[in-house]
Symmetry: none
Subunit: 281 residues, 2 copies
DNA sequence: TATGGATTGGAATTATTATTTCATATTGAC
DNA sequence: GTCAATATGAAATAATAATTCCAATCCATA
């Protein structure tokens, strides 16, 4: 018994792909069918699957045996397990990935951890996002002449993506960068007809707070993305979103923030397009 | 037959909850178990489920019949269908969300779309990432004196995050920005003892390609993150990762790229720490 | 093109699993 | 407390499904 039986779907998949070339015709046929229709394998009976794949039930069993299983039933377990896993909550999946990390599966575990953290964050925000707030924010931003984007450090990548996307949508915007130390002057140009997207998470970058305060004092409406109602950003903002990002290895995910930012941007683009169309007709 | 048989899980669930009070003890027991462990119902046998729920198989069948099914098997179909639906490919779900967004179902649909795109991308890369490549990349980067980070436009946010994280980990790095048009000179300082992380997706920013080529010619090893084996980056790179990002509303997700980038960064940090510790002992 | 080995189809067999049946227990009304 | 109706447990039975077996076929090689 030097050939190990694939216990999880991914290993199984890899094994099949690897041996694909050397499999007999009918077995290959079943192999292809299995990878294309994993759900059918999970739920069907040997006879029904064989019929769908255009082979005999016995071939199906030979296929399973060739892979090292002792029969169709044990092969089917792997396909069922896959559905269970896929279906299990993000939290459980995260736990599973963390568990894998414990076994010390090299650096792969780190990667799994980040994927898990990102998934968790996404599912959290999907649940938590308030539709009405989102709608208000879109309305507010769509009316702005120029959208100022304000974020430092960890949040800066999000800001730069927003600026990129707004640019592609031909929406006037200004990324407040600290390059030449002219942020204060840049902010000075903003008026109440503009709007701001400010992003900051604990520990809040002092510069972001300071700039947000000063721009708020000029009467420019602010949409904030931050991590709690105690955030200093929340007090300055007309509308603010609370985003809870999961962390791994001391680094927090930014995927939820990113998704929210992209959605805001694109929604603003759509709203403007719609408004423009209406005005013309 | 005025009582209709629940055909989908949600209806079934509602029906069960509604009648819960009027059900006999053992039947109620099975009902509770079914709602708590729907996966078990989907895959188990009548005997195994009955045992887990602490009742007789016949009770399970009576339960099914009381709900209007003609036996356990048809009840089970509903639980299986549920898994199928839940698992229906992300692509289908994305398509549905896109359609929803098209018909103007509020801006929430846009947000959902971005979350779905991000989830899809994450689950794809989780499946596709090659452990060995990842390990190699980490080794290569951990040896570098300085890590140069190269990315423009859509990929720039990822690069800026890498630079931020490397900085926090006290790993010397240089983000190649186009601020003052001095990129060529900056790149000129790189030696074969350094390393590069280059990120670019179709349509590849010409500047990124050009800079990657020139730095490769200096013998600096390159780790590339890109979207296909035909990518111009792939030919210059010692190791390259293929990342397929789902898109929504014309904007591609960057969550998978982000997760990979963070994992690389932190893994490099760990590897260095381990190496440092070894040297000391 | 003959020959041996591998592969396949299809029926026979075995196993597993759902369902039915019936005796027993429980519950509630009088 | 008695009786009838209902519910439950356990084993018997029927149905269904997995597996095995063997003859037929295919394929590569000499």
């Amino acid at each position: 018994m030097d050939k190990r039986v694939p216990r999880d779907f991914e290993t199984l998949r890899a094994t099949i792909l690897e041996r694909r070339a050397s499999l007999p015709k009918r077995i290959a046929q079943i192999a292809a069918y299995a990878l294309d229709n994993p759900d059918d394998i999970a739920f069907g009976t040997a006879a029904s699957i064989a019929a769908s794949a255009g082979v005999q039930p016995s071939t199906l069993i030979r296929f399973a045996q060739q892979l090292g299983f002792d029969g169709f039933t044990s092969l089917q377990q792997v396909f069922r397990e896959r559905l269970r896993e896929r279906n299990s909550s993000y939290d459980e999946r995260l736990a599973a990935l963390r568990a894998k990390a414990e076994e010390g599966a090299g650096h792969r575990a780190i990667f799994d951890g980040f994927v898990a953290a990102a998934s968790t964050s996404l599912s959290d925000i999907s649940r938590a996002l308030n539709d009405a707030h989102f709608e208000e924010a879109v309305t507010l931003l769509a009316k702005a002449e120029t959208i100022y984007v304000l974020a430092k450090r960890r949040s800066y990548p999000v800001a730069s993506y927003i600026a990129y996307a707004l640019g592609k949508l031909k929406i006037r915007n200004q990324l407040v960068e600290s390059a030449a130390g002219l942020n204060a002057e840049m902010i000075g140009f903003a008026t109440p007809r503009d709007a701001v997207i400010a992003i900051s998470f604990s520990p809040y970058a002092p510069a972001t707070i300071e700039e947000t305060r000063s721009i708020a004092e000029q009467g420019v409406p602010i949409v904030a993305i931050t991590d709690s109602s105690f955030s200093p950003l929340a007090q300055f903002a007309k509308i603010w979103f609370e985003v809870a990002e999961a962390d791994f290895g001391g680094f927090r995910s930014i995927s939820a923030t990113m998704a929210l930012a992209m959605a805001l941007t694109v929604a603003v683009g759509e709203k403007r397009r719609d408004a423009g169309r209406k005005r013309k007709t």
